[in-house]
Each structure stands twice: as structure tokens, then as C-alpha cells.
Symmetry: C2
Subunit: 303 residues, 2 copies
């Protein structure tokens, strides 16, 4: 199944007239997942015509303002729009206290269930799972506790081979079991093995979101072979001296991670607003890994 | 002296693609005062080319998100821009706890002095004063503790009558005292009274900001004769039934207050986003009081 990634904002630090702090929406298996929520995200959701009442799960990487200060407003807007559906927020420990305090001060409690899933583990863990997919944390190396997120489809049921079903006159009532992998016994006792009856399920896709982080090889086993990796690249190599102190990456470092993890494609984002032009990020990264694409506010990637 | 009022946002509730929640900047006697700070205010400051490093005093009326959720981001942006000057924030009790918690969670403390002036009095009080002006709270009637603010210039020194100075050959060293109101004794003992030596100081101006509030006559003595009154008008009279429960005003109610307080002019704002067109607000209010003007994001009023 294909995924769609809407970039709402992909710049570091502060919102500006033409650039927004980090937020993105991943459309995957009938979900709209919001990933990070910098100031102005609700306006970006409207501008990008994302049906945001459909958002039920919000993943916050860390509690720096440029990834998080749009959340109180979005939660409050959901209330004003008469939301009734549950909203789940996954983020670092402390996020519940912050949002709750703001609601208390405004005496503006939500009239829908708001459920916090606070994270404090430094080990990778599954934080969301349904029949179709899992979301797993990717512990990152930043100045404060930070997680990336790996969105991975589950291997689906095997596909029925329609011709085989017809040939052996197999009744519909057995389809469910066969898709799950069962063999089938014909009336004459001959056993048809599952591989005679089914085709491989569609290949699964995965998307890894890694922002903010310094160069951190520990993430490689977690993101290996992802179809797409969004990796922050706040700096160019010429500013690599800032990288270690701020715990941000350069385009070169992001590409090195992409190469070592053998991902399908690399999307760079979280550009420092010091750079007027982001093309040098692509040029720098593509000396190490390809294909490289640049995030851009309003851009949609099909994965 | 003239004041300039920059409307950064003047809509109720949530930020939208084309309308921003409440924030305005008052230029008065060499100050840039920020009044309320809804989400997106820092972008609005940039769009409106307000030199926002010059802001040293921020006045927050109440802790509903549409007046306040832009403040954490603005405080954090000042830090990133390397601000060193003091920043003073005046707002309801609790504002310090909220901002401090957000800074703690992000481990992002300001490197400039951030000084909170928390308000909890239900009586009007002077909260800022310098040689040129005062800022006084206007307790309002809203769902949570809320203050409007009255910005009032002080009567300045009397103006020297240059011709009189020349005629009587008065030495410069006496100018200061004469401007303060002193008489002057000529060498022959004749006393020149101050009114022979000076002219009236320029007239003082005042601006009253009242948002959010239901219809509340208690504010009339506080805002009487203000040169300009910004009064919220969330609803039209046709939706007056919402007014009492939400503690917001209609255009008619705002105009009635303006009339009873005999202000110089009325500026309406805080329009509910349910209204596509704000002209009926002007039409409705002007049946009761004139002149009425409509706030509009990006508009500048000379007062």
C-alpha cells in the first residue's frame, strides 16, 4: 500500500513568514498520523487541506518549541470544533503536565477523550499497533530526550489465487483460513498446500522519521531498509562545528546514516533558517547517498 | 503625541488561513507594547514588519489560547535571536508557572531577564509607569480572570514660549524649572508668572483595550473620554443569545459602552469566525455610536 507524507513545516527554530517549524502528516492504512506540531501547525493543516478532524494520533518527538508549541492550540481547536473522538498523544514525559496546566489555566477542558502516552524509555519500543501497522520509537541523540518514529506496515494476509479457487471449486467459507496460510484438503483426500492456492501478499512499506538528532549510528539497526527515511539536516558540512554542540546533523551525516542503513530514499529536512537556499543540502548529501530529496513546506511525498 | 496601533490579529477562537487570533502592538512614547499574543503572533510581527526586538513589555489579558498560545514561541524566539534586554510580561496569575514549565521541559531557559508581573486583583491598578505614561488594568467580565488595559500618556511639561524667553533674555539654566511651572524674577525684582512664559503642553492621548468581555458597565468610569476604545464584538445582535453564556459582547453592546463612556472613537474586533463579512458589525454599532472602525489583521490605526 502506498503512503503519503505531507510536509507542513520543515525548518529549524522559529516560524517565519515563509517557513514553518516541524510538522508532518503521514497517511498510512487509513490513518492520518500527525508527527510533531510546531507553532502554526493548525494553519498549515488548513492550508494543505488535510482533513484534520481525522487525526487521532499525534506523535511528538521532543519538547522543544519548534516541534511542540502548536499542540496546545490544536487540542483547543478540536474542542471548539465539537470533536467527540478520542485523541491520542505520544510524547516525552511531561507533555501531559504541560497540556493539562494550559487547559486548567484557561478553564478549557476538552469535551473529547484526550489520552496521553508518555514516553521515557531509552530503548526502542512499540507505542502503537493495530492489525495493519506498528509505530516504534527510535531513540535519538539530542540535547533533551527525543524519539524518532518508525511507521511500519505489517505483512498482510496472503492473496487468494482466484484461478486456483475456481479450478478446485473451493467454497468461500474457506477463503479466510487459506489467506491466513492454511492448506486445503480436496474431497478425494488430496492435500493442496497453501502455496498452490495463494500468492505473496503485497510488499510492506515503512517510513522512518528522525528529527532532531546528532549523528547517531545506534539508529541504523532500527531503520535498516526503510522505504523512506526523513533525517534532519540542520547544517551543511561547512557548519559541521555547530553539529556536535547543538546535537544536530549535517546533510553529509544524514546521508551517511541513509547509506549505512540501506534505506530506499532519503528526505532531508529541519534546515536552519540561516540558509536561504536548500539546494546545497541535496548536492552535499548526494555525494554519499542517492536518491536524496528535500522536504519543503506544502510538498507531498508518495512513498 | 500620536500613537500607532498595529492590529496583528483580531479574530476570536482559532487561527485560520486568513485570520489570526488576538494580538496587537501599540507604539506609544517610544515604547512598542505587545497586547495579547495568540498563536502565530511572531509570524504576524514579521509580516507586519514590526521591529519586535524593541518589544520590552507584553500585556496578556487572559489565559485563553487565542490570546496567549503565541507567547511561549515568542519568548523562545527572543532567546534564539540572542536577546539581552529585559522582557516584562504582565498577565494573570499562573502565566509564570506555564511559561516556566515549558522552558523546563525544553531545557530552554532564556539568556535574558524574563520578568513576570502576575495579576490577580479584581480592582483596577497601575501596572506600568514611567515619566511619559501609565498602563492601568481594566477588570473585565469574562469566563476566566481577564483584564483590559488602559494606556494613558501623562501630562507633559509646559512648553517654553520662545518669544518670551528672548524678550526677557532669560538664561537657559532656568528653562527646566520654568517648564515645570516656576515663575521667574527679573533682575529689577518684577515677577513674571509662569503663564507669561509658557504655553500649554500638548494634549494627552489614551487608548483602552477591552477584550474579552461581556457587556460590563463597570468599565465605563475607567475608560471615560479615552481617545480610542478597542472593544470586543464577537457577535452581532442576531446572536445576542450567545453573548451571556460565553461572556462576549455584540457590536451593539460595544457601541453602547463607547457611547456611555464618551470615547473619541470605537474600534471593534475579536469577531467570531462564523461571520464571513465584518461590515455588519460597523453598520450595527454605528446606529448607536460614531465613529466606529473595524479592526483588520495588518491594519494600522493612528490615534
Amino acid at each position: 500500500m502506498s503512503m503519503k507524507l505531507h510536509i507542513l513545516g520543515c525548518y529549524a527554530a522559529t516560524p517565519r513568514t515563509l517557513s514553518n517549524p516541524t510538522a508532518q502528516v503521514l497517511e498510512i492504512r487509513n490513518h492520518l498520523f500527525l508527527i510533531d506540531c510546531g507553532e502554526g501547525t493548525q494553519v498549515q493543516l488548513r492550508k494543505n487541506k488535510v482533513k484534520f478532524s481525522r487525526i487521532q494520533h499525534i506523535f511528538i518527538s521532543h519538547l522543544h518549541g519548534d516541534h511542540f508549541f502548536g499542540l496546545p492550540g490544536l487540542i483547543s481547536t478540536f474542542r471548539l470544533l465539537g470533536r467527540e473522538k478520542e485523541l491520542h498523544v505520544y510524547g516525552p514525559k511531561g507533555i501531559k503536565e504541560a497540556i493539562t496546566l494550559l487547559m486548567k489555566l484557561g478553564n478549557s477542558w476538552t469535551n473529547y477523550p484526550l489520552i496521553f502516552h508518555e514516553l521515557d524509555s531509552k530503548e526502542s519500543q512499540i507505542i502503537f499497533e493495530d492489525e495493519k501497522l506498528t509505530v516504534t520509537t527510535i531513540p535519538l541523540d539530542h540535547r533533551i530526550y527525543t524519539n524518532g518514529f518508525l511507521f511500519m506496515e505489517k505483512i498482510g494476509d496472503r492473496k487468494l489465487d482466484v484461478q486456483a479457487m475456481a479450478k478446485y471449486r473451493i467454497d468461500k467459507q474457506y477463503f479466510g483460513e487459506i489467506k491466513k496460510g492454511s492448506d486445503y484438503t480436496l474431497p478425494d483426500g488430496i492435500i493442496l498446500t497453501n502455496d498452490q492456492l495463494t500468492l505473496d501478499p503485497p510488499p510492506i512499506k515503512s517510513y522512518a522519521y528522525c528529527s532532531d538528532t546528532g549523528y547517531f549510528e545506534n539508529i541504523i539497526p532500527l531503520i535498516r531498509n526503510s522505504d523512506a527515511l526523513y533525517h534532519e539536516a540542520t547544517f551543511l558540512d561547512s557548519e559541521a562545528h555547530y553539529s556536535a554542540t547543538t546535537k544536530h546533523s549535517t546533510a553529509k551525516q544524514a546521508a551517511t546514516i541513509a547509506k549505512k542503513a540501506e534505506v530506499g530514499r532519503l528526505i532531508l529536512g529541519h534546515f536552519s533558517t540561516r540558509y536561504k537556499n536548500t539546494e546545497p543540502f541535496q548536492a552535499e548529501a548526494s555525494t554519499i547517498f542517492n536518491p536524496v530529496e528535500l522536504a519543503e513546506d506544502g510538498k507531498v511525498f508518495e512513498i
